[in-house]
């Protein structure tokens, strides 16, 4: 059985074909990039429209199969930017009708967590889901992903983007900060805000912006990384202690930062737990996670009629009953 998955929640339009056992047959990605950084939803959706058909065609041809061999078409139904989501949905509906194959709507956040769980081999982990738009500490309870802690204001990826944009040193924030941080040595005091399993970054951002030009950018990048990642790991560790879990998995674009993964691995080692890593390219938005989750949902009989397949831009992960068991 093969699923074709389409992802289009934010800056990336991606497609993938996945076979049984999570075998990845193709993985095609096109990202919308701007010089100034940031995403304008309308411009991003125009980008997606312009690459959609080529991504779909490459996704199928790279998989080396006839289109008719695809059994199910999955798409990222939300949460995300409305105009962007609609491009993926439109492409998926057309494919579903054209190939006469069922459609499956996948929750983008659930897909991030599902791919993390499957690729890392974790059984019952705490998830640290940290990307441009999300910062949450999650665990599975009764076939649902439940959020135990989250940011009280902005997501960490968003914060890093805002910081590098204010500093005028490139885009996107994550890779730029990671590069600059390697040359930083001195820790500059910035607000450290953890409340139980929740975190807050807006105060840290304000402090950073006020220090621009007064402190070397390398030291600021080093400090923001050390301080914000420590906040994330304190919240994650508290969740591990509270819920008695001995595995940690990271998902989302910020997870591509090697310092965050290094700190996570030290934290887990210290408490006799395991940090389970997997290839970094699957941390950021991709089509594989949509195909993978879609295939699993389809196997559990979860399909979506085309006429009621509207996108859900504010669809929460905990509203989804996870496909589990036989």
């Amino acid at each position: 059985m093969y699923a074709l998955g389409l992802e289009s929640t934010a800056h990336t339009f991606a497609g993938s074909v996945v076979g049984e056992g999570g075998r990845v047959l193709s993985d095609v990605r096109e990202s919308y990039k701007t010089k100034a950084g940031g995403i304008h939803p309308r411009d991003a959706s125009r980008h997606h429209y312009s690459v959609a058909s080529s991504v779909v065609l490459r996704t199928i041809s790279e998989a080396g199969m006839a289109p008719s061999a695809i059994d199910v078409v999955a798409f990222s139904r939300g949460p995300g930017l409305g105009p962007c989501l609609r491009v993926g949905a439109t492409a998926a509906r057309s494919l579903s009708l054209f190939l006469n194959r069922p459609l499956v709507g996948v929750n983008h956040a659930v897909a991030h967590l599902e791919i993390a769980r499957q690729m890392s081999g974790a059984r019952d982990p705490i998830f640290l889901f940290v990307s441009g738009g999300n910062t949450q500490v999650i665990a599975e309870v009764d076939q649902r992903y439940v959020v135990f802690g989250e940011t009280e204001d902005i997501a960490l990826g968003n914060m890093l983007d805002s910081f590098v944009r204010a500093a005028g040193v490139g885009f996107p924030g994550g890779p730029v900060v990671m590069e600059l941080a390697t040359k930083g040595k001195r820790l500059i005091q910035l607000p450290y805000s953890v409340k139980g399993m929740n975190v807050s970054f807006s105060g840290t951002l304000t402090a950073l912006e006020s220090l621009l030009g007064k402190e070397p950018i390398e030291d600021l990048a080093y400090s923001v990384q050390e301080i914000c990642f420590a906040m994330l790991l304190e919240a994650s560790e508290r969740a591990m202690a509270y819920l008695e879990k001995d595995e940690l998995v990271i998902s989302g674009g910020v997870g591509a930062n090697s310092r965050l993964r290094e700190m996570a691995s030290i934290m887990c080692e210290e408490r006799g737990a395991k940090f389970l890593d997997y290839p970094a390219k699957f941390y950021s938005d991709n089509g594989v996670m949509i195909a993978l989750t879609g295939l699993n949902s389809f196997a559990h009989g979860d399909t979506l009629p085309v006429e009621s397949s509207t996108v859900m831009s504010r669809w929460r992960a905990d509203e989804v009953r996870l496909p589990r068991g036989v």
């Binding site: 820790l187 450290y192 139980g196 420590a230 790991l233 929460r316 509203e319």
Partner: protein, 221 residues
């Protein structure tokens, strides 16, 4: 054995190992004591780690002291050493509110509410107000674990405390939480403080906020 215990502390056994600290039962100068120790975290930058442990250790000790000024019992502090992140305090013997409620004994809920009301009126938020952090000893309510507490007059923080307590009661006794909450609230408002009345109002607002409610509940509004 750890070499960085305060001088003279003889550990007996570890009571609890949390995310940031370890709690030991032991003896010190012939007394039964509890030692709370914030351990260094190797994943954190050393300077950041030391700063956090020092400020949190001192902050927690201050809150334990302020709690007494508010007229609520809390463990006595015998010794603190911010350098090694330790607070040595008296060992308070008695069942927690969680243990009492599990046995079906709800007779302390009103007193618990009263104690929390005093704490808030005095300008302290607890930060982790679960029934497991309330203990009954010698016919008095004792508040424990000020690790996440703050000295503040922010009504939102007080309402968050109550929200945590309410959630814990719900998961502890299920359907019966309503009558327990009424008990708790009557104690909480017992001293007639304006701050407490405002906090109850704010709690209702928090409960109505989108992120605390499921989609179905929001729709039915």
């Amino acid at each position: 054995m750890r070499s960085d215990f305060p001088e003279g502390f003889e550990p007996e056994r570890s009571l609890y190992s949390g995310a940031e600290s370890e709690i030991w039962l032991g003896t010190w100068m012939g007394r039964r004591v509890v030692l709370k120790q914030r351990l260094p975290k190797a994943y954190r930058n050393e300077e950041l780690d030391e700063g956090l442990r020092v400020s949190r250790t001192v902050g927690e000790a201050m809150s334990l002291y302020e709690c007494k000024l508010a007229g609520v019992r809390s463990p006595y502090i015998f010794h603190i050493d911010p350098k090694i992140g330790t607070i040595l305090m008296s060992y308070v013997e008695g069942p927690t509110l969680t243990e009492l409620l599990r046995k079906g004994d709800a007779s302390w809920v009103r007193q618990a509410g009263l104690a929390v009301g005093k704490l808030h009126t005095h300008g302290i938020s607890h930060g982790d107000l679960t029934p497991s952090n309330l203990l009954v000893s010698q016919d008095e309510v004792v508040l424990l674990d000020f690790g996440l507490s703050e000295r503040t007059n922010d009504i939102e923080k007080f309402a968050e405390d109550l929200n945590v307590m309410m959630g814990a009661l719900k998961s502890l006794v299920g359907e019966r939480w309503g009558s327990l909450w009424a008990e708790f609230e009557s104690g909480y408002l017992g001293e007639g403080s304006t701050k407490c009345r405002e906090t109850i109002e704010r709690l209702k607002l928090i409960m109505g906020r989108g992120r605390y409610r499921r989609r179905e509940d929001r729709r039915s509004r």
